[in-house]
Symmetry: C3
Subunit: 151 residues, 3 copies
Amino acid sequence: MTDLYSGVLEFYARQMPLMEEGRIEEYADTFTEDGVFEHALGWRLEGREQLIEGTRSGLARYAGKALRHWHDRFTVDRRPDGALDVTYLAMVSLVDEQGQVTFEPSCTVRDVLVWSEEGAGGGRWRTRSRFLRHDTSDMSRVWEGRLTGRT
Amino acid sequence: MTDLYSGVLEFYARQMPLMEEGRIEEYADTFTEDGVFEHALGWRLEGREQLIEGTRSGLARYAGKALRHWHDRFTVDRRPDGALDVTYLAMVSLVDEQGQVTFEPSCTVRDVLVWSEEGAGGGRWRTRSRFLRHDTSDMSRVWEGRLTGRT
Amino acid sequence: MTDLYSGVLEFYARQMPLMEEGRIEEYADTFTEDGVFEHALGWRLEGREQLIEGTRSGLARYAGKALRHWHDRFTVDRRPDGALDVTYLAMVSLVDEQGQVTFEPSCTVRDVLVWSEEGAGGGRWRTRSRFLRHDTSDMSRVWEGRLTGRT
């Protein structure tokens, strides 16, 4: 488990279920204290308090559905200071109570991960910043559709 | 190819096509002799004979469709005895004769892999147990829908 | 980043966005000069000129949609001469202007990658051949459906 690339894949494998299962504080703890989550639409969450609030209200869109994040095509580049530039493709799947599967538009993500000794359990990667862009010009309309059940 | 994580990814890359292509005995051979396949719905297959029968009847649901298993978010933890705890996300895609694509609900899987010297070709990983939970409360209804063509 | 398997995953993570974003000459440059792209339907592109033309006309099918390639289940085997036999599962997702997501049939792909010192920037993997088979008997019908908006 010493390969850098594998370690990065496993970081996301552990980070994203925390969000999906509503363990929002544990999820926020996978970001640095000053971590930033930014969307190409213009909104920006900075620091764990905003991240927790923003994630909580984001999850409300999916009430009654099982939410999963799928990833592919990770690239990992180490900066001189040891931080990692990571890019990947992501897509959200939703399963409703009848077992019907739908997908949100694909998106591309750029993260910066830093090695952090903060907290218990020894060092580990944390997300210092995330920038996300969906492959559609109007993601807010997609989300509103979900909120009102029109999708 | 010495990285443990990569070796695990490749194990699934070789295991699952055997099932999809109906090479059921070869698929069963990727489990240990006493291997267990258990579903959160309550059913349980134990040993290769049950695994072969259960897989055969499971595949009958998909007659006329091309079945593929997609995976993501693998975590790999080595136990003191050398066995591996592996978790991942999975989803089945189906392509019908008109080229129409549908998906079964996402599921989470917990496997235990053990290194096995059994059989020809030197040591390799085998599945000792698999526990699968779909992200829907009533997967049997989804499967019945497929059987009767209602989905 | 020295693990062979990880290096192969990252190769595709960098190759496929070039095609999706219409950077066709850069995409063609990820193949060897005599690179071959062959489809089970019978068509065959050989060399960068054909690859560029064939990719350009292929992309025309997706005008107005965001195209993404998803991969899974990579196997990597090194040949005695150092070339790599790589197999994987792939699927194309499309997002239209309303944010609606559709998928093309899954396909299986067999590539041969070779280490190449050609061009600037030091050695890297390049695709010497790609053979692609969709999980449907009549992929041309699927593509025609897209072209005429019937899908």
